[in-house]
Amino acid sequence: MNAPTKFDGAKPAYRHVGTRPVRPDGVDKVTGKALYGTDFKAPGMLWGAVLRSPHPHARILSIDARKAEALPGVHAVATGKDFPTLQSLVMHVGEGASDIVDVARNCLALDKVLYEGHAVAAVAAVTPEIAREALALIAVEYEELPFVLGLEDALAPDAPLLHDDVFTKGVEPKPDKPSNASMRVEMGSGDVEAALATAAVVASGRYTMEPVHQGYIEPHACVASWNADGQAQIWCSSQGHFAVRALTASVLAIPQADIRVTPLEIGGGFGGKTTIYLEPVAMILSRKSGRPVRLAMTREEVFRATGPAPGAVIDVRIGAAEDGTLLAADVEFKYHSGAYPAVDAGAGVASAIGHYRIPAARVVGTEVLCNRPAAKAYRAPGAPQVNFAVESAIDELAVRLGLDPIELRLKNASGEGDPQTSGVPWGKIGWTQCLEAAKAHPHWSAPLGENQGRGIAGGYWGNYGGPSTVVVSLAEDGSFVVATGSPDIGGSRASMAIMAAEVLEVPYEQVRCVVADTASIGYSMVTGGSRTTFATGKATVEAATQVRQLLCERAARMWNVPAEAVEWREGTMHCISGEKAGTSISVARIAPMVAHMGGPVSCVSAINANGWLPGFGLHICDVEVDPETGHVAIVRYTAVQDVGTAIHPDYVEGQVQGGAVQGIGWALNETYIYDHKGRLDNPGFLDYRMPVASDLPMVAAVLVEVPNPDHPYGVKGVGEVPIVPPLAAVANAIHAATGKRLKSLPMAPDRVFAALHGCA
C-alpha cells in the first residue's frame, strides 16, 4: 500500500515518511569519530602549505623557490607553471558554469594575482612547521597594480581591468573593449515607466551590502596521492566528489577515471564547497614528491581565498494602486563576481519579483569583476540580496498604503500557472498557503513590548533535480544497503533510508545508507541546489522498487508460480494464488538463498531527475532595538515554508532554522571589511561576527506541505529558501520598531544608532 505512486494531492498514510528516527551518522559525529577533511591521514603523508599574495592586484614577475626546495624536509614546491596549458572550456560542475582556465588560475595564480590571498605557490614537507618555514623562503617579485573593490568603482571608465579578455556578455552591440562587467541579464515585460506613472504609491531606494561568507565550520582540506602509473586518489570533504573529480581532472588534463575521490564527512558547505581550491595543488605536490600530500586551509585562508556570496548594489522602484495592487517593478542590481566571472546575475533576476503578479516589470542584473576572492554559491545564490530590496519595498508600500503586509502579499501572490519573470509558468507552488499559514500563526497576532517591532518578508528559490545514481542491495541476512553518490550534508542518509524502508515496508533500521566514492557508483551531481532529497530520493525509490520487484520474481520462481501470484507486504513475499497460495517468505529468509536463484539482488537507478518544483517561504521576525546602543535583538522568529513533503521533519526543520539563522547573521552582523590597501581586515570568526546559539531565540519552523506531484512522496527542495527572506524580515522589523528603514547591510549597532540619532 505504500508503494510509490504518482502523487495526486491528498497525502497518503506513510509508514516511515514523516517520522523522525535517529540519524545513522549521529553517533560518529557526537563522539568525534567521524572523519572530516582535516582528520584524514595517509601513510607517508607530507604536509602542504600555500603561499598567498599580500597584494589585491599585481603581476607576478618571478618566483624563486630554490631556497625553499633546499630546505631539509621539503619534498616539493608547486607554482602555477606546473599546471598544463589549458584551453578555455566552460563546464557545469558543482552548481554553476566555470571556465576551467579560471578554476586552475584560482587554485594557483600564473601571471597575475587578482585578490589578496590568491594562491601563488605551495610546498610539501615532512612536517607542517617545515612547510610553513619553506613558504617564507619563496621569493616572489610582484609588480603592484591598481586595484578595485567597489561595484561602481569597478564599472567606472578608468577602472583597473582585471582581465583584458573579458567582454560584457548579454549586451548589444557586442563590446569591442574589455570590461569588468562580465555579464548583463535583463528580463521583463510591459511598459514599466507608464505603469509606475499611474501608481498611487511608489516605493523606491538603493540597497547595498558587502560580500558575506558561507561560514562553514570545517575549512577546506584534502589528501591527494598520485601514483607513478598515473592513477590517483583524493580524500576530501566537499558537496560533490564527482565535481571534485571532474574539475581536478580537467585542470590537470588527465582522464577522470584515473582519479578516485573518496568523500569524507563535510562540516558545512552551503554552496561554498561545490568547487575546488586545494585538490589539484595537492595532486601536483604528490606527483612531484611521490608521496601523499595533505593540504588544509586555516580559517584565515578560508576567509581570504574562498568564495563569498556577492555583495550588491540594488536600485528598486515598485508601484502600487491605492488598494495595494502591484502595478510595476523596476529592479536593477549589480553583484560582485570577485576575481573571475560568476553566474549569479541570472539567478538574481529569476529570484527577484516572481512571487508577485506584476503586469509591468523590468529586472536587470550585472556581474562585476573586482579584486576580491571569486564569488561562489551560497545557499540560494543571488536571491537574498535582491530579495532584501524587493521585500523592503513591498513593506514600505504596505506601510504607506495602510495595508496589512500579509494581505498585500496575498493580494498579489503568484500561483500555479502564473508566469515567472522568464515567462515559464509556476507549477504546483505553495506560496499562498505559506501566507495563509503565517496569518493564522499565533506569532502574527502576539503582543509586542517596548522598543519592539515585527516585520515579515517572503521569498522563493527555484530548486533543482539533476543526475543521481543509487544502488540498493540486499545483504545476505535480509538487511539492505543504499549506496548513493550524494554527500550527506543535511541528513540525506537518513532520508534515503526512510524512503527505501517505505518502499520495502521494512523497519528503518533494516536499511543503511552509505556515500560511495567515485569509482564505486555512477555519476551524481553535487549535494546542492536543494536537489538531493528530491533527485537522489527519486533514484532511491526507483532502485528500491526494482529490488522489491526482483525479490517477488525470485519468490515466484522458487514457488514455481507466475510472478503476479506473489505480493509484497510488510517486507515479506506472499503467494496469493495457485498451489502455494498462503505461503510466505520473509526477506531475511530468502536473502541467504538468492544467490541460488539468479544471483545477488542489487539494483541501480541512474536518473536525471525532472519535475522539481520551487520552494516558497514567509518569515515573521520580532526585534527589540536598544535606542542607546543601536543593538538589535531578535526576540521571536517564525519561518513558514512550503516543503512539499517532509521526509524527516527534524532535518527539514533544521534546514529552515539554519537558513534563517544565516540570513539573520547576514542582516545584522556579517560583512567583509577591507582596508585601504585592499586587504581583508576581518578574516576570522572573532571579527567576522556570525550568530551563535546564545544570540538567538529558538526559530520556529512551520512546515507547510503542498506535495510535489512529480516525486513519489511529494518532495520539494528545502535547503535554500530559508536564507532568502530574513534580510528584509529583520529590516522590516527594525522599521516597525523605530520608524527607520535601513537599506545597507549589515544593520549592525553603529548603523542602527546612526539612523536613530541622525548621525549617519
Binding site: V90, E95, V171, E172, G346, G427
Partner: protein
C-alpha cells in the same frame, strides 16, 4: 514551434529573442542554434535550461514533434 531566447543568450548569440526553427529534439535544437551562432553548443549544457511548453526539461532526446514552445533561459545553480 516558437523558440524564445531569453537574456543574455538573445544578445550574446542570436541578436533576437525569437527564432524560427523546427527541431526534432533538444539535441537537434542545440545543433541548429549552433549553426546560427557558432559557439552556442559549447555553452548550452553548462549555461542553458530549456523549458518545453512551460516545463523545464532535462531529457534532451525527448521528441519535440508535439511541442508548441521552447524557451531558452539561464541555468540557475543552487548552493
Amino acid at each position: 514551434m516558437r523558440i524564445v531566447v531569453m537574456p543574455p543568450f538573445d544578445k550574446e548569440f542570436f541578436g533576437t529573442d525569437r527564432l524560427d526553427v523546427v527541431p526534432a529534439n533538444l539535441f537537434d535544437l542545440v545543433d541548429r542554434l549552433d549553426a546560427l551562432a557558432p559557439g552556442f553548443a559549447a555553452i548550452a549544457q553548462p549555461r542553458v535550461h530549456f523549458a518545453v511548453d512551460g516545463v523545464l526539461e532535462t531529457d534532451w532526446a525527448r521528441p519535440l514533434s508535439d511541442a508548441r514552445e521552447v524557451i531558452l533561459l539561464p541555468r540557475v545553480g543552487g548552493g
